[in-house]
Every structure is written in structure tokens, then in C-alpha cells.
């Protein structure tokens, strides 16, 4: 599948933003948030900025961004529509929480708003994952781990941003350090297990099944319907060379999984938390974009059976 940069930026930026919002909201709800209201406000402002930039960028790949409001209509059947609805609904408690911190409004409502923000963030990221997870045309996407990996990396990158914000503004509490380590390891284990499973699956559909005539023997393409690639080939036929993919998977493992774990351990053991976590944020940023790019580039679409693929 063709990796659209606007969608890669959207899913990574808003994923990290929702992860940050999730952990901030949980910390607020249980009363574990260190620092004053200004720190909470600054963190929620960063989270909402990342989310909003991501959502805006997601409209860039649309043919008619000005009609995007219509995408909220079909939440009964469409995960894309559900994602839009969940994203907008999450703004309500998160925005109110931000306003309460900005204007120093003390209220018992804040923990309820925080819980609603956390739930909204999780639901929105799950919907994003299910947009891909529900497409049976792509075996690398219609895998039960896909929405969980979206949630896992949103939680891990969000926890890292959360820890970094605390480290540079106040100090890094031990529970936040553990949060970064646990979420990163969990997401990494899921992703590596996912890679193993999709690599072992050759695909259940064959070219002969696509043509509907397996009894006629093996089929091979003779004359193509067009001399140059069309939309279907460009959008659905994008593929990355096997050896490139392997290098990029290694890069993902190093930057998104290894580096944040090692750097967080360094922060825990020898101090200078702000510096180590800044490096971890940069590494994870490179890693999550690579991971998301590969998620598209390695995805094989069933329609390519008509264009020469033998299995999908």
C-alpha cells in the first residue's frame, strides 16, 4: 500500500498526543500529577496541539477536505467515521480540563473530565487501528494485533512525552519511569510477534481464486490492461524491497524499542533525566514514523492478484 505522508504524520502525531493525554488524565484522576496547574496545562496544550496537527494533516490526503464534516455521519458502519466522532467528542472533556487549569478553577468535576479524556483518547486510537484492522483485503492489516499495536505505541510514545515533560519541568517520578519501560516493552513485544505472524502467513488468496477458475490450471498474466500504472497499481501495488524492509525493521527496533528503553534506564540510574529522555523522544520519533511507513509499505492488497501477484 502506498504510504501517504499525511496519514503517517496523522497517526503518529495524534497517536502520541492521545497517549500523552491519556497518561496526563490518568495521573490527574488519581491525584498523582506532580507540579502545579501550569505544568498540567502545558502538557495538555502539547497533547491537544499534536492531536490537532495530526487531524488537520489527515485531511490533506482527501480529494475534498472542505467536505470533511460529512465524515461524521456514518458512525454506524464506518470505523473512519467513528474515529472522527470519537476525536471530536474527546475534545470536549480535554478542552474543559485545559480551561480549568488555565483559569485555575477548582472543581470536583476535574477527575470525571480526566477519566472521560482518557477514555476518549483510548477509544479514538482504537478506532484508528480498526480502520486498518477491519480491511480484509490486506492480510497484514486485518490482523487482531493491529489495533492493539496502535494502542500500544500511542501509549508508549505518549508515556515517553509525559516523562520527558515531567523531567524537564519538575522531576521524573519512579512510576513514570516504569510506565515508559512497561509500555515500550509491551508495544515492542506485540510488534515483533506481529511481524513473526505475518511473515509466516503466505496469504490465503491466489491469482487463480481471484480469476475464479482454479480448475483451468495455473494462470499467468499475458497482456496487461494498460501500459502504465493506474490508480489501483500506484495506491495498492506499492511495495518495498525485501532487504530494505528488513533494514527498516531493524531501524524501528533500535529507535522505537531499544533506544527508549536503554535511555530511560540511563535516566533512572545516572540522572540527567531531561537529556536522556530528550534523546529517547527523538529516537522514538524517528522510530514511530519508520514503523508506520513500513506498516503501509509492507501491506499487500488482494487486488494485486490481477496485476501479477501470485498470493495475497
Amino acid at each position: 500500500m502506498h504510504p501517504a505522508y499525511s496519514v503517517i504524520f496523522f497517526t503518529t502525531a495524534s497517536g502520541a498526543g492521545y497517549g500523552l493525554l491519556f497518561w496526563l488524565s490518568l495521573a490527574e484522576a488519581v491525584g498523582a500529577m506532580p507540579g502545579g496547574r501550569w505544568l498540567s496545562f502545558a502538557i495538555i496544550a502539547v497533547a491537544l496541539t499534536l492531536i490537532s496537527l495530526g487531524l488537520l494533516s489527515s485531511t490533506l490526503h482527501l480529494g475534498h477536505p472542505e467536505r470533511a464534516i460529512g465524515a461524521f455521519l456514518q458512525w454506524r458502519s464506518s470505523w473512519l467515521s467513528r474515529e472522527g466522532v470519537a476525536a471530536v467528542l474527546t475534545y470536549i472533556p480535554a478542552g474543559l480540563l485545559a480551561l480549568m487549569w488555565l483559569f485555575n478553577i477548582e472543581s470536583g468535576l476535574s477527575s470525571i473530565l480526566a477519566i472521560l479524556s482518557a477514555v476518549g483518547a483510548a477509544v479514538t486510537v482504537y478506532c484508528t487501528g480498526m480502520i486498518y484492522g477491519s480491511l480484509r483485503t490486506i492480510r497484514q492489516w486485518s490482523h487482531h494485533l493491529v489495533p492493539l499495536i496502535y494502542l500500544g505505541f500511542a501509549a508508549a510514545t505518549g508515556a515517553l512525552l509525559f516523562g520527558f515533560s515531567l523531567a524537564i519541568c519538575v522531576s521524573l517520578p519512579m512510576w513514570t519511569t516504569l510506565l515508559i519501560l512497561v509500555t515500550t516493552v509491551t508495544a515492542a513485544v506485540m510488534k515483533i510477534s506481529y511481524w513473526k505472524q505475518v511473515d509466516a502467513d503466505p496469504g490465503q488468496y491466489t491469482r487463480e481464486m481471484a480469476l475464479g477458475m482454479p480448475h483451468l490450471g495455473t494462470a499467468r498474466p499475458l497482456d496487461p490492461p494498460h501500459s502504465r500504472p493506474n490508480f489501483v497499481m500506484r495506491e495498492m501495488g506499492y511495495s518495498v524491497a525485501r532487504n530494505h524492509a528488513e533494514k527498516l525493521r531493524t531501524l524501528t527496533m533500535v529507535t522505537l524499542m531499544g533506544a527508549p528503553i536503554v535511555l530511560t534506564l540511563l535516566a533512572m540510574l545516572i540522572g540527567l533525566t531531561g537529556l536522556w529522555l530528550a534523546l529517547a523522544v527523538i529516537a522514538a520519533g524517528v522510530g514511530i514514523v519508520t514503523e508506520r511507513w513500513l506498516f503501509f509499505a509492507e501491506a499487500e492488497h488482494v487486488s494485486q492478484l490481477y496485476y501479477g501477484a501470485a498470493r495475497a
Binding site: L62, S77, S78, L80, P221, P225, V232
Partner: protein
């Protein structure tokens, strides 16, 4: 609404006879011609006369060779929207622009509400939807909805453009829900089948398989090629001399 209708009044669709399709592309070109001025207008092209031509087409004609180990066979294979009964291309649409008509089962895209997110094309295993980069909306076969009910054109033209133009009669249009229709009868008589039935979208369009050859072509025994040594005969000597003299 992008939820699917419980049932449709008719199941209008195409039956494509792979036994007599000659791969002439007339269905593809007449489709393009009609639809670039009809419901789906425009079907934009990019660099149509240059080195990298591309554009939105609603019908694509492949050719494949099938080989069962004894005999190889060329099959020309038109591919377009199959107007499935339970397709995800409709349910994934966030706006309701992609919909299946309750009255006749035709799957359409409303060009006025489509936001061009391309998700429906991702959901189609048949690669039947093509995005129009200039128009910013998804294009697909409409079953010539602007011809089949059109009372301003002669009655014989009230079929999809591809069916009307097919010189061999390999394409037929009708109600596949009506067991007495010609298309339904041909599906039963010839063992009509679905593409990628295993996927479960329940296509309406059916394909008729190539007939089995009555007399299998006898395999030609390969003879070792006999190449005459040059310059043996008088005429070859003459040609050889002419060749040298002229070069």
C-alpha cells in the same frame, strides 16, 4: 446511508462470457467514452498522449494464459465493479457517498458528497474503484445507470455501454435475481461463477467459463532445427556475392 440494504428489489448486473471475449477493448473504450460525459463525468486523464499516460477507467481488460500441464489457453478477462451484495466498499465510507441502491442493487458513489478518502478502494478486493485525481472523488462502474433507465435514448441503447458495444456478444446485462431472465439462465446453463467467492462479498456480476476444447490440440513434437550450411546452392552463392558487393 452506508449500511447495506436488507435486500434489493432487483439484482442488476453483468454476465461476462470468457469463452467468446476476444479482448478487443471495445467495452473499455465505450465505457470511458460514455462515462466521461455521463454520471461519472469527468473521467480525468493525465498525460494521455505522453510517455506516462494514466487516467480513471471503470473497466479494465486483462489477458491471462492458463496452463493445466497439457494445454495452454488464452483467456481475456474484463474486470469492473461486480455490484456485490455485501461489499465493505459501502460500509467503510464515512460520509455515505458510497451506497448500494435498494431498488436495483447498483453500487454508486455520490460525487457531490464523496470526500476522496479512498478507503472504499482499499476495501475492494477486485481493484474496481479508481480515484480521479483531478475531480478529487472516487469513480466506479455505475452499470450505466444514466442509460438503462433513460427514456430519451432508443430502447436498444438502454443497456450499459460496454454491453452495447461488445462485437462478440460476450457481455450481457439483466436481473440476476430473476431466475427467468436470460442472464440467470445463461449462468445456470454454463456454470457461471463468482470472482474470489471465498472473500464473501457475494458479487452480482457473473463470469461464464471458457468451454472445454472438444478435440484437444495434439502436442506438436519438436523436431531438431535443421539449419542449412550457407553457401551450398548456386542461388545462395549468388546472394552471398550480392551481399558482399553491396556492403
Amino acid at each position: 446511508m452506508t449500511t447495506l440494504p436488507q435486500s434489493t428489489g432487483k439484482k442488476l448486473g453483468l454476465v461476462i462470457d470468457l469463452d467468446i471475449c476476444v479482448g478487443c477493448q471495445s467495452c473499455a473504450t465505450s465505457c470511458k467514452e460514455w462515462n466521461t460525459g455521463g454520471y461519472s463525468a469527468p473521467l480525468s486523464d493525465h498525460d494521455p498522449y505522453g510517455g506516462d499516460p494514466s487516467g480513471a477507467w471503470l473497466n479494465r481488460i486483462h489477458s491471462y494464459e492458463f496452463d493445466d500441464g497439457q494445454q495452454a489457453k488464452t483467456v481475456h478477462f474484463p474486470r469492473s465493479c461486480l455490484h456485490c451484495e455485501e461489499p465493505d466498499c459501502v460500509t467503510v465510507c464515512p460520509t455515505g457517498a458510497s451506497y448500494k441502491r435498494e431498488e436495483d442493487g447498483i453500487v454508486l458513489v455520490n460525487p457531490d458528497t464523496c470526500i476522496g478518502c479512498k478507503l472504499c478502494s482499499w476495501a475492494c478486493p477486485y481493484g474496481a474503484r479508481e480515484y480521479d485525481y483531478d475531480d478529487g472523488v472516487m469513480k466506479k462502474c455505475t452499470l450505466c445507470v444514466d442509460r438503462i433507465y433513460n427514456e430519451t435514448i432508443p430502447e436498444e441503447d438502454r443497456v450499459p455501454a460496454c454491453v452495447r458495444s461488445c462485437p462478440t456478444g460476450a457481455r450481457a446485462f439483466g436481473d440476476l435475481d430473476d431466475p427467468t431472465s436470460d442472464v440467470s439462465k445463461s449462468v445456470i446453463a454454463r456454470g457461471g461463477f463468482n470472482l474470489l467467492d471465498e472473500f464473501g462479498y457475494k458479487p452480482t456480476n457473473k463470469y461464464l467459463p471458457p468451454r472445454k476444447a472438444e478435440v484437444p490440440a495434439a502436442p506438436v513434437e519438436r523436431q531438431p532445427e535443421q539449419v542449412a550450411a550457407p553457401g551450398n546452392t548456386a542461388i545462395e552463392k549468388l546472394f552471398s556475392w550480392v551481399d558482399k558487393a553491396l556492403s
